[in-house]
């Protein structure tokens, strides 16, 4: 295999593509590094844009169909830009038997979105996790990367409230 294929730099000149190039070179343009590269890309860009998928696909010489197939298969990869803040509700069994379902329901109602969606103003993304492995803290909710354990419905809503402050859409959704 030719180890240094010519990948033209991304026309946008976005510096993050240079960082992606570093990762691509470190993995020697290997196709089996596809998932690793998508991880890197998502860390850099926050989500996987079509542009990024095409770029990664070209670099490892994988057809776009395959890159797209992999990106959509795994739950970790997101094709939509995330909101300003992210709230992750753990739906593992331990959290579920301790009422994670109600927490999720309350958040969905309050913000008028379903799990996996972002509010229209782009402030809050609501995500569910399979299991955070923090079952000792059930029910657990992650607010912007910070795990809060043994949390109730009200406390959760309270933590999310300031994120969407001033947004009329969430105000009217309140009962």
């Amino acid at each position: 295999m030719n180890l240094t294929p010519q990948t033209p730099p991304h026309p946008s000149g976005d510096k993050r593509f240079k960082l992606l190039d570093v990762a691509i070179k470190r993995h020697q343009f290997r196709q089996d590094a596809l998932i690793e590269l998508l991880h890197t890309a998502q860390e850099l860009f926050g989500y996987l844009d079509h542009d990024v998928l095409i770029y990664v696909g070209r670099a490892v010489r994988a057809p776009l169909s395959r890159v797209y197939g992999v990106a959509t298969f795994y739950n970790f990869f997101s094709m939509k830009p995330p909101g300003e803040h992210t709230c992750v509700v753990c739906m593992g069994t331990a959290c579920y038997v301790k009422g994670a379902g109600q927490i999720l329901q309350a958040l969905e109602q309050k913000h008028g979105i379903k799990a996996g969606e972002t509010t229209e103003d782009g402030k809050v993304s609501l995500v569910t996790a399979r299991c955070l492995g923090a079952c000792g803290l059930a029910p657990a909710v992650v607010f912007d990367g910070e795990v809060a354990g043994k949390i109730g419905v009200d406390a959760t809503l309270e933590r999310v409230r300031p994120w969407s402050a001033g947004s009329p859409q969430t105000e009217e959704a309140r009962p």
Binding site: I35, N75, G92
Partner: protein, 555 residues
């Protein structure tokens, strides 16, 4: 590093620790960290420094101390005694530092005598180093004997000697299947190939299980050592650890450990100055439950969608890129070093006739002491839940214990005196699984639980084979109908037919075991299903019944 250098590192660290009067271990597992464990550790370290006692007292972060529910945890160990402080806040941290660590008088009012029961019936082999080592410092691990077993294997034993010890130990796969580890290793050893691989399956996808995460966070070197011994035994030179992306701390600790082990020549080229080479890379999963299935995991490491393929050929014959590949779970690898160090016969002396050794369980759900426990095989469920776990809080009655996650089943109260081993759990329709043990009380509805797991399998089905892809959707639809009070008796029959169908025709373990939660709840809690259907009522008052006329609910 040569074998002498390892010994020197071990002796130097041991000598350093001898000078300390007392060691303060602050739990640095993900659970305690998110409860403010880091601040506690800093407060204790700062106070000890201020009192100018850092010569006498060592403050360090350690792996999961077990009682995750009562974090942040601090363990103080002197020559004669070990004390565990629970729910340590900033004020308590300062008191522990001043009174116990520096002055040597335990802060008795902060200690809870009840936690002694939590440890009484446990036997720690996989978790023996928690509270003793700092997982981020290789010296501290080596002082407790890390890589001693690897050294013994590569310098004093032949690969067949190692295989012999593992076979003699009776160790079985801790990922849940319970396949004899010695047999698996021998198959890979005998398989012909130009290259061989060792993979550590750390894609702990079962919701409600956190054993692998705790082991990786608490003692990554133990896992790496187990992998290296396995590689030596089967003739592999490259290993992969496939870790869940949801476990950033485990990934970080593992990366540190690999770097340290390579620098010390416990991994990499010419391990411990012998002819044996073994490199380890990390592959981070991207959130797909099916990747816990070994052929799907291999596809994922190769950079593909994580879809399984039919077996045989088993990975032991044709695995990663077509080469013979050994795949074991984290806990299995973590059990290897003690077996090599103490001999297979020693390990076989623990446990029951067919299930040897110890098993780590993650206790969670409606249980007083949530946490990580390690018990010898053959302890009864009652002992684990009531003696170790402290029973059900709030004076409620025990209803069922769920083991094995979405592939397992619910065990009801009449079977509480069942000894926990692979065969007994299978005999009541559940499985050992990777070790998640979720306790449910009378406020949990069994039909709802079955629906929860079916929803999980429906979402996580990779879509490759029809029985699983379509069957899980149909089964979920039927369960949803039951929980909404819209089902009739024939629906139950259809549900049971689908259970059989999925079990016998699905391609991989996910689909074959997906009906298990339904089968086991139907077996032990059929009444509850019938009340939902006939009386349109949920005995646990979990399901909201729509009294409306039955409607087609298939999505």
């Amino acid at each position: 590093m040569s074998t002498e250098a390892r010994r020197e590192m071990q002796e130097a660290e041991r000598a350093r620790l001898e000078g300390k009067r007392c060691r303060v271990a602050v739990c640095a597992a993900a659970g305690c960290l998110s409860n403010g464990g880091q601040a506690v550790r800093e407060a204790i370290a700062r106070t000890v420094r201020e009192k100018e006692a850092d010569g006498d007292v060592e403050v360090f972060g350690t792996g999961c101390l077990g009682l995750c529910d009562a974090g942040p945890l601090v363990q103080v160990r002197t020559e004669s005694e070990t004390r565990l402080y629970e729910k340590v806040d900033a004020a308590a941290a300062v008191r522990i530092a001043v009174e116990d660590a520096v002055a040597g008088t335990p802060a008795k009012d902060l200690l809870d005598a009840a936690n002694a029961a939590f440890f009484a019936k446990q036997r720690k082999i996989v978790l023996e180093n928690s509270g003793r080592i700092d997982p981020e410092r290789i010296e501290s691990c080596v002082a407790e004997g890390a890589y001693e077993a690897l050294q013994k294997a590569v310098t004093e034993m032949t690969p067949t000697d190692v295989l012999h010890e593992i076979t003699a130990s009776g160790l079985r796969g801790r990922g849940g299947g319970g396949y004899p580890t010695g047999l698996k290793w021998s198959t890979v050893y005998k398989a012909k190939g130009t290259r061989k691989f060792v993979i550590c399956n750390a894609d702990e996808g079962d919701p409600g299980a956190f054993m692998d995460r705790s082991v990786l966070e608490g003692d990554p070197h133990r896992v790496l050592e187990g992998m290296a011994i396995a590689a030596y035994a089967v003739g592999a030179d490259q290993g992969y650890v496939y870790v869940r992306g949801e476990y950033p701390l485990a990934v970080q600790r593992l990366k540190t450990a690999i770097k340290q082990a390579e620098r010390a020549q416990f991994l990499g080229g010419r391990v411990l100055d012998t002819g044996f080479s073994f490199r380890v890379d990390i592959r981070i999963g991207a959130g797909a439950f099916v990747c816990g299935e070994e052929t799907a995991l291999i596809a994922s490491i190769e950079g593909h969608r994580g879809t399984p393929r039919p077996r045989p050929p088993y990975p032991a014959i044709s695995g990663l890129w077509g080469h013979p590949t050994l795949i074991n779970n984290v806990e299995t690898f973590a059990s290897v070093a003690p077996i090599v160090r103490n001999g297979g016969a020693w390990y076989a002396s623990i446990g029951t006739e067919k299930s040897k050794g110890t098993k780590v369980f993650a206790l969670a759900g409606k249980i007083a002491r949530t946490g990580l426990v390690e018990v010898p095989m053959g302890l009864t469920l009652r002992e684990i839940i009531f003696d170790v776990g402290g029973g059900i809080p709030g004076g409620r009655a025990f209803k069922a214990a769920q083991t094995g996650g979405p592939s397992g089943g619910c065990i009801p109260a009449p079977h509480l005196d069942l000894p926990v081993d692979y065969e007994s759990l299978a005999s009541v329709g559940s499985i050992m699984g990777s070790g998640g043990l979720i306790v449910m009380d009378e406020t949990s509805c069994m039909v709802d639980v079955a629906k929860y797991f079916m929803e999980f399998c429906r979402d996580e089905s990779c879509g490759k084979c029809v029985p699983c892809r379509a069957g899980t959707v149909q089964m979920w639809g039927l369960l949803d109908k039951i929980t909404r009070g819209e089902a009739a008796r024939p629906d139950l029959e259809r549900l049971e037919q689908l259970c059989d169908l999925l079990k016998s025709t699905s391609l991989c373990g996910l689909g074959q075991t997906a009906p298990n939660p339904v089968v086991s709840t139907l077996r032990h809690f059929r009444d509850e299903y019938l009340v939902h259907i006939d009386e349109r009522r949920c005995p646990a008052r979990v399901c909201e019944m729509t009294k409306a006329a039955p409607a087609e609910v298939y999505p």
